[in-house]
């Protein structure tokens, strides 16, 4: 039960983080469409780092 609540909290945190990354990337692309590729790559890297953190927590919590 408690680990399910923990998993929910992790997903909330990861979701907030991903939303922030995605939102900022969107704004940046809208401002500078010619830098889309660079921004996308950076976005995916940060997303992957965040994902690693979230998955680590999920597995440790299990």
């Amino acid at each position: 039960m408690y680990n399910l609540i923990g998993a929910g909290l992790i997903v909330i945190g990861a979701g907030l983080g991903l939303g922030k990354i995605g939102g900022s990337a969107m704004e940046a692309i809208a401002r500078q469409p010619e830098a889309t590729n660079k921004i996308q790559t950076a976005m995916i890297i940060i997303g992957a780092l965040l994902e690693g953190l979230a998955f680590g927590a999920l597995i440790l919590g299990k």
Binding site: I44, I45, A48, F55
Partner: protein
């Protein structure tokens, strides 16, 4: 000729695609109590995620259809026999006076009757021989290696003929991917020394990509979702980074220039920890992503016989197929993305290690 090839390809896809349907048809026929069903599904998913000594394709009634793989044990000398002799854990195998029993994916030494003793946590306490068997995952690795070998050999042949030749057939798909790894990952992250690391980065990228795609076929591989495999891959990146690191890298870990001395003392242990957390996160990310993908897909397929009473047969099959189809497309993206991320971060870490800093 081309028509024959195409027909064979379509036939192979149809036959492979029919496998999960066979499994489900059988599960339906043997469906018992509702509570049993979800338990059975859970066991089935766990069984799929784990490595196995027997390559099972589908179940026909009580019989598992598939082919046995060779078991190689080192226990007072080399012992090689087929895993079919275990009869899925029902039989005890005798080799040179030593008895072996297969129990929950592992091989244990037992007496002639095959008794397995447990400790109070229900873990077997029997001794285990050193197991070097060609398991399902090892078989998957061999298959991926073979596919890559065939693909890249044809690509290499075209370059041998001359620099202006266009690759033919499958090589035409591989060439842009190779260029993608070079231009998007290696050169921006590593810089002018990228050529040394291209063989490693390409191997890692194509191995993970091939294995991820193989995992999406109904043959039932789960190689990159096995923690031992990802530990090994992450360890390679760690070793490459550590061996190829220049003195600037070590300086920035142990005695950072341009930072006051008290902070240097605080930062050094954190940086040393960072050396290990980087490959650790690489390992965990790949493992967790692929495992999660496989479990969710299998769970969605299970809808077919889990919600049959509520939704009728047609409804449950329709919903399950729709959801599974959508998720399969997502998993295709994930298969590429995870290979990309692993290679990208590997090249980023290598780039950090070989970067020459301007002297402060």
């Amino acid at each position: 000729m081309i028509n024959l090839k195409r027909t064979l390809l379509v036939l192979a896809v149809v036959i492979l695609g029919a496998n999960p349907i066979c499994v489900l048809a059988n599960e339906e026929a043997h469906a018992g109590e509702p509570s049993d069903k979800s338990k059975e599904i859970g066991e089935y998913i766990v069984h799929h995620l784990q490595d196995d000594h027997f390559f099972s394709l589908y179940k026909a009634g009580e019989e598992t259809v598939g082919f046995p793989l060779p078991v190689i044990l080192i226990d007072n000398g080399l012992k090689v026999f087929s895993s079919g002799e275990f009869k899925h854990g029902k039989a005890v195998v005798e080799k040179d006076g030593q008895f072996y029993k297969y129990y929950h994916g592992k091989i244990y030494k037992t007496d002639a009757a095959g008794t397995i003793s447990y400790d109070d946590k229900h873990h077997p306490t029997n001794a285990k021989p050193l197991d070097f068997s060609i398991t399902k995952n090892v078989f998957g690795l061999f298959l991926a290696a073979f596919l890559m070998f065939v693909g890249f050999l044809s690509l290499a042949k075209t370059y041998k003929k001359g620099p202006s030749n266009l690759p033919k057939g499958f090589g035409r798909v591989l060439e842009p991917l190779v260029l993608y790894v070079r231009d998007e990952m290696a050169i921006p992250n590593i810089g002018h020394r990228y050529k040394e690391f291209m063989p490693y980065l390409l191997s890692v990228f194509f191995l993970i990509f091939t294995l991820n795609i193989l995992g999406l076929t109904p043959i039932g591989f789960n190689v990159t979702g096995n923690i031992s495999i990802t530990v090994c891959l992450a360890l390679f990146t760690f070793v490459v980074t550590t061996i190829k690191a220049n003195k600037d890298y070590w300086k920035h870990i142990f005695w950072m220039p341009g930072v006051p001395v008290p902070f240097k003392i605080i930062l050094a242990p954190i940086e040393v920890l960072g050396m290990f957390t980087k490959p650790f996160s690489l390992m965990l990310r790949l493992f967790a992503n692929i495992t999660a993908g496989h479990s969710v897909i299998m769970g969605l397929i299970a809808i077919v016989y889990l919600f049959q009473t509520q939704l009728t047969v047609g409804g449950s099959v329709g919903i399950s197929m729709l959801l599974t189809l959508v998720l399969f497309f997502l998993e295709l993206l994930v298969a590429f993305l995870q290979a990309f991320i692993f290679t990208m971060l590997s090249s980023l870490f290598i780039g950090m290690a070989v970067e020459e800093h301007a002297h402060h």
